[in-house]
Amino acid sequence: MSASDPLLRVAQFALAFRTETGLATVLDGVDLEVARGEILGLVGESGCGKSTLVRAILGLMPAGARVLGGRIEFGGQNLLDLDEAVLSRDIRAGRIGFIPQDPFQSFNPLFRVGSQMLEIMRWHAPPEIGRSRSAHRARLLELMERVRIPAPDTALKRFPHEFSGGQLQRLMIAAAIACKPDLVLADEPTSALDVTTQQQILALLEELAREMNTAVILVTHDLGLVAQYCDRVSVMYAGQTVESFSHKRMLEGVRHPYTRLLLDCHPDRAGALRGIPGIVPGIARMPPGCRFGPRCPAVLPICSTQRPKAEMLEADHSVQCWAVSGSIAARVPADA
C-alpha cells in the first residue's frame, strides 16, 4: 500500500432503510477518506447520518437496512463484501476500535469492567500483546494508567455503576485502543459528559492516537471541538457529505453555507443548532435538489431541482453546492 492510499475510503456509499412506505434513502453518495494516523472530524447536526455511517463502517447496520451502492474500503478491502462473522472476528476491535456515545449505557451493567475489557482482548488482541490472560491484563493495567484511572488494579474489579461518566469514557478509550487498531471510530464520545470532562477526554484521545499513530474518526456536532483536535473535517448534511477540508482551511476557507453556519454558532447539548432556522429533513421527506436548500440563506433557483455535484476546490478541499460551483462555472469562461 502506497502512502497516498488512504486507510479508509468511503466512496459513493448509499444506504436505505426499509420503512412502511418503501425504501427510504438515509445515506446518499457519501465520500470520505481517512489516512493513517489522521484524525478526521465528521460533523453535522443530529440526524444527518453520522452515526449511521459509523455503524455502516463497522458492519452494524440495523435490521432492514440495504446498501444501495458504493464501497467502504479499509486497508484495500471492501468491508461491504465481508460477512458478519468475518467482520466480527477480523475487523472489529482488532483493526477498527470503537468509542460509543454514552459510556453509561454502553458498559454492560452486570459485569465488571475488567472482564468486559478482557473479553475484547481475548478475541482481538494482536499477537505482539500475547495470547495469555495475564498478558492482556498487564496491557490493560498499563493502558488504564495511561488514561489516568486511579488504582487500576481494583478498578478492573469494579462494576460500571461505580464509576463516573468521565472515568467510564476513559475506560472506553483504553478498550478501543487496547488491541492496537489502525482506526478508532469515536461516535460523539463526549456528548453525554459535561463540558470540562469533554476537553480532557478528547485531549487524551488525541494524545494516544498521535502516539500510537492511530487514525480516528471523531463524530461530533461541535465544529469548535473539531477545530482543536482534527487534521481534517468532513461535513455531513441529510445523508450526504457536503464539504471536506483540512484543518488549516477551517477558519477562512470553508465554502458551503451549512459549514459556515455551523462555524458561526455553538451547538447546545441536544445538538440542535440554534443559529440555523429549520430542522434536518426526515428520511421520508427529502427535498429534491439540494437537501439544504430549504434552509439555505444563499439558495438559488437551481437548488430546488438539481442536486449539486462534488467539486474539488483544492487538493484538500471539496464541496457540494450550487452557489460554489456556480461561482466557479461563472469564472471558468473568463479564465479560458
Binding site: 452494524l60 466480527s88 476491535a93 454492560n108 451493567p109 452486570l110 475484547i120 482481538h124
Partner: protein, 336 residues
C-alpha cells in the same frame, strides 16, 4: 444480606398468620367435621357427639382458632384426624416427592425454555421465531391434566415405554433417606439402577407439569432478550466484536435473566397448584395428593398445614428470587 433475609422472613410472618386465619375461617364457614367419619358407619348420635367434644369441634370458632394458633406457636402442626399421626411427619414424608417433581419440572422448563426464548429472540420475526412462538402459545393453552392423560395413554399404555404411575417400580426399595428425592438419594447412594428407574418415573409427570411453565419462561425470556438486544451496551459489545455465541450466551442472557427469574419464582408457586392434579393422575405421593386427600376426608388440620407449608415455600421462593436477582445484578445486591 443476612439482615435482608431476616427482615424478609419476619415480614412474612403476618402474611402467613393472615393466611392461616383466612383458611381457618373458610374451612369453618360451614358446619360439618370429621367426627361423623371417625365414629364410623355404626355410631350412635351420642358417640359422634362424644367424639366431637373430645376433639373440641363443638367449641366456638374463635376458641378453636386460638387453640390452633397456640399449637402452631409451640411448633406443632397438629395430629391428623384420619391417620392419628403427626402432620409434620406426614408432610416431611411427602414434601420431597413434590419437590422432586416440581423441581424436575421447573428445571426442565428452565433448561428448555430459556434457550428457546433466546433462540426465538435471536431469530426475531424469522420463521424459527414464528414456529417457536406458536409452540409456546399452544403450550400455554394445553390443560396439563389432559396432556398428562394423553402422555400416560400414549407412552405408558400404548407404547409401554415409560411407567404409568408412582415414583419407583414395584419391588425396588428406595435408597436411604437423605433429601427424600429419590433421583438425588439414589445417586448419593451410588445406585444407578434406582436412579434410572426413578428418573423414568419422573419423565411423564415432570413433562406434563413443565409444559405450561416452559411456554411462559420461553415467552418472557424472548421478550427480555429482545429488549436487551436493543440496549446500547449490546450494540457496543457487537461493535467491539464479541463472538456471537459469547454475546448471546453470556452477556445478553445474563442481562435478560431478571424477568424470567421473577417468572420462575411465580411459576414455582403456581406449579405447586398444578401438581395437585398431576400427582393425582400419576399416583405421585406428594403434598398435592395429600391436600386433596385431606380435603376429601375433612382432615382440617392437615389441610391447614398444607396451606401453611405452601405459603411458607411461596414466601421462601420470593426471598430466593430476590437473592437471585441480587446475584445476577450487582446494583440490586448493593441495595440489599
Amino acid at each position: 444480606m443476612s439482615l435482608f433475609i431476616v427482615r424478609r422472613l419476619l415480614l412474612a410472618i403476618p402474611a402467613l398468620f393472615g393466611l392461616v386465619l383466612l383458611t381457618f375461617i373458610l374451612i369453618h364457614a360451614v358446619p360439618g367435621d370429621p367426627a361423623a367419619v371417625l365414629a364410623g358407619d355404626q355410631a350412635t348420635p351420642q358417640q359422634i357427639q362424644a367424639l366431637r367434644e373430645h376433639y373440641g369441634f363443638d367449641r366456638p370458632i374463635l376458641e378453636q382458632f386460638i387453640r390452633y394458633v397456640s399449637q402452631l406457636a409451640s411448633g406443632s402442626l397438629g395430629v391428623s384426624y384420619m391417620t392419628q399421626r403427626q402432620i409434620s411427619t406426614e408432610i416431611i414424608e411427602r414434601m420431597p416427592a413434590t419437590f422432586e417433581l416440581t423441581l424436575f419440572a421447573m428445571t426442565l422448563a428452565t433448561a428448555i425454555g430459556i434457550p428457546l426464548g433466546v433462540i426465538s429472540a435471536y431469530f426475531h420475526n424469522r420463521w424459527l421465531d414464528h414456529v417457536l412462538r406458536i409452540i409456546s402459545i399452544g403450550g400455554l393453552a394445553i390443560a396439563s391434566f389432559w396432556l398428562a392423560i394423553m402422555l400416560q395413554f400414549t407412552f405408558s399404555m400404548e407404547l409401554d415405554l415409560l411407567p404409568v404411575h408412582g415414583r419407583l417400580s414395584q419391588g425396588l426399595t428406595p435408597p436411604p433417606f437423605v433429601t427424600g428425592m429419590i433421583v438425588i438419594d439414589s445417586l448419593m447412594a451410588g445406585r444407578l439402577d434406582l436412579f434410572r428407574d426413578a428418573f423414568a418415573h419422573l419423565i411423564l409427570p415432570g413433562f406434563a407439569l413443565a409444559v405450561a411453565p416452559l411456554a411462559t419462561i420461553m415467552r418472557f425470556t424472548r421478550a427480555a432478550v429482545l429488549s436487551t438486544l436493543r440496549r446500547e451496551y449490546v450494540f457496543y459489545e457487537r461493535a467491539v466484536g464479541y463472538p456471537r455465541l459469547v454475546l448471546m450466551g453470556k452477556y445478553v442472557l445474563r442481562n435478560s435473566l431478571v424477568t424470567p427469574v421473577t417468572q420462575i419464582g411465580l411459576l414455582l408457586g403456581a406449579i405447586l397448584g398444578s401438581a395437585v392434579v398431576i400427582e393425582a393422575i400419576f399416583d405421585w405421593p406428594g403434598l398435592g395428593s395429600y391436600a386433596v386427600l385431606s380435603i376429601a376426608t375433612a382432615d382440617y388440620q392437615a389441610t391447614l398445614a398444607v396451606v401453611l407449608i405452601v405459603g411458607c415455600v411461596y414466601a421462601l421462593i420470593n426471598i430466593l428470587v430476590d437473592l437471585v436477582h441480587a446475584a445476577v445484578d450487582p446494583r440490586i445486591l448493593e441495595q440489599l
